[in-house]
């Protein structure tokens, strides 16, 4: 074993040096253990180092290993003592927050929810960034999102904001629905197309009544969850609806190439279980796509360019909310690496005077993504 360790140590020591291209080799001389005088293994020195240098290097490495082992040893250890220091966090800011929580803003965690928005799915188009990467994006148009009502713990038992979006002809809206919009609709304005509620965790996060939610409510680079009613597929068989495997096209299969096969066992249980996957109506149900990234925001036209596809047909409304699993707050992937979104919603007084650039892009990588890796190039 010592000989193997020796060659491993040599390998470690010599990898970084320029002197040597091949390692020292160990050769096994004899199979029998009887001949005790003659050594079993012999090392042949192919390296550029002399034997003394090799011995010196090996001694240094051994000394290092012994010192490491000694450092780990804790003298006068008692049960309940910690051998290594407890590391609960790796950021200086989090240490400071733990020390004095009163002096800092409370953290924005995954359990905190703020208001979402309603948007129309406009269609898909490619977006090229400065590095030349093509992102296939869906365009979402936030059409006149106005906060109509609040739901509070006292009155309703839960906290939510009611948001109305879009437009509808007045003749198509009944009187009972028009009554809900009494407060803010003038006689010339069109009533909204639909009204939806968004759950919120704290009453201070409720956006003010009759305020508009703009595209700047969201931040370029963050992840969002988009919910919509998926495209209708009609009556579909189990292969499309439930990803069933089907049966071979030939080899004697009779009349059941796309069927679902067996539906259960025999006399026991003697029935088909409820919920058995079978053919039926597919689509036109609420679907949520999670962790969809915002690539670009058009502030003037209230557009969100979002990476990938989104459930639903073009021209239909979708619900847009901050991602529940991976919103990317505090990371480099969000613009300015902010640790929380604008709360309760974006305020127009915060406009920064950059009037010309109405399109804001997500932060791009520092290095060219198309450049070859250094290892491959070398």
């Amino acid at each position: 074993m010592w000989a193997l360790r020796q060659s491993n140590a040599l390998r470690k020591a010599f990898d970084s040096s320029f002197k040597v291209r091949c390692y020292s080799t160990t050769v096994r001389l004899f199979k029998n253990d009887d001949k005790k005088d003659i050594p079993k293994y012999q090392t042949i020195n192919n390296t550029g180092f002399s034997n003394e240098e090799i011995e010196k290097i090996l001694q240094e490495e051994e000394a290092k290993m012994i010192a490491e082992q000694k450092a780990r040893f804790v003298e006068s250890w008692e049960p309940g003592m910690r051998k290594k220091p407890l590391q609960s966090s790796f950021k200086l800011e989090e240490f400071e927050y733990e020390l004095e929580p009163e002096k800092h803003l409370p953290r924005w965690t995954l359990l905190d929810k703020r208001c979402g928005a309603l948007a129309i799915k406009v269609g898909m188009m490619p977006v090229f960034d400065e590095w030349g990467v093509r992102h296939p994006c869906t365009v979402l148009f936030m059409d006149q999102n106005i906060v109509i009502g609040h739901k509070t713990m006292e009155k309703n038992g839960y906290i939510a904001a009611q948001i109305a979006a879009g437009e509808r002809k007045r003749k198509n809206v009944g009187k009972s629905v028009l009554g809900q919009y009494q407060g803010f609709l003038s006689e010339e304005e069109n009533p909204p197309y639909l009204v939806r509620e968004f759950r919120i965790t704290d009453e201070s996060l409720l956006p003010p009544l009759h305020s508009q939610i703009h595209a700047r409510h969201f931040v370029p680079g963050q992840n969002i969850d988009v919910s919509g009613i998926s495209k209708g597929k009609g009556f579909q068989g189990p292969m499309k609806r439930h990803n069933f495997g089907g049966m071979p096209a030939s080899h004697g299969v009779s009349l059941s190439h796309r069927a679902h096969g067996s539906t259960g066992q025999c006399q026991d249980p003697g029935k088909v279980f409820k919920g058995k996957k079978m053919a039926g109506h597919m689509g036109t149900e609420r679907v949520t796509t999670q962790n969809v990234r915002i690539i670009k925001i058009d502030r003037g036209r209230n557009l969100l360019y979002v990476l990938g596809a989104v459930p639903g047909n073009k021209g239909h409304f979708v619900e847009v909310r901050d991602a529940v699993k991976k919103p990317l707050w505090g990371t480099d992937k969000v613009l300015d690496a902010i640790d929380r979104p604008p709360l309760p919603t974006f305020e127009f007084e915060e406009i920064d005077g950059s009037g010309t650039a109405h399109e804001v892009f997500m932060p791009l990588p520092a290095t060219d993504p198309f450049a070859p890796d250094d290892e491959e190039a070398a």
Partner: protein
């Protein structure tokens, strides 16, 4: 009460500035678009308020606008790419690289155009060339910011300039002698 025809005739003649009994008063060359509408439909009340459109129609119109704007601005900003006119069957040279790229990062690609796919922002060109003895096909998007310029090397390269190419896609060249589609010399 005047009849519709009489009202139109009065309107038409008075706005053209000619007497009512001349043939020129009724000619269509001297008419503005508003007068033409009156001649066709008569004098009826026009909608003053903006027309209400359903979300689906507004969405499709918006998408058209967005894509059209981008295509227009890209074409205006890059005359080197969009100014050169080439057809299927020509030999082309493209210069690919970012604007701030160093010399060794800029690439020159040559090839025969096997097909052009015109899909708005995904307007692309399929190039075929024999590079280091290996036939290579590549599809390049012309709206990409990495594309700097396009240069026409030879027209009707596939037929050595003698005949016109009469096809939209030249996929049959994949089964032919690779020398027909070789643009680079080594």
């Amino acid at each position: 009460m005047l009849g519709i025809a009489a009202r139109i005739g009065r309107f038409a003649a008075s706005s053209s500035g000619l007497p009512r009994w001349t043939a020129a008063a009724f000619s269509t060359n001297l008419r503005t678009p508003e007068e033409m509408a009156v001649l066709h439909h008569g004098l009826r009340p026009r909608h003053r308020a903006p027309k209400f459109k359903s979300p689906r129609k507004r969405a499709s119109k918006l998408l058209q606008e967005l894509q059209g704007e981008l295509v227009k601005s890209n074409k205006a900003n890059k005359p080197d790419v969009w100014g050169t006119h080439f057809r299927v069957g020509d030999a082309i040279e493209l210069v690919i690289g970012r604007e701030n790229a160093e010399k060794n990062e800029i690439e020159k690609i040559r090839g025969v155009v096997l097909g052009i796919s015109r899909k708005g922002l995904d307007h692309s060109v399929l190039l075929r060339d024999v590079v280091f003895g290996q036939p290579v096909e590549r599809r390049i998007l012309l709206h990409s910011p990495l594309l700097q310029s396009v240069k026409l090397l030879e027209e009707n390269f596939v037929y050595k300039g003698k005949r016109k190419v009469k096809r939209a896609k030249l996929y049959f060249l994949r089964d032919r002698n690779p020398e027909l589609t070789r643009v680079t010399k080594w």
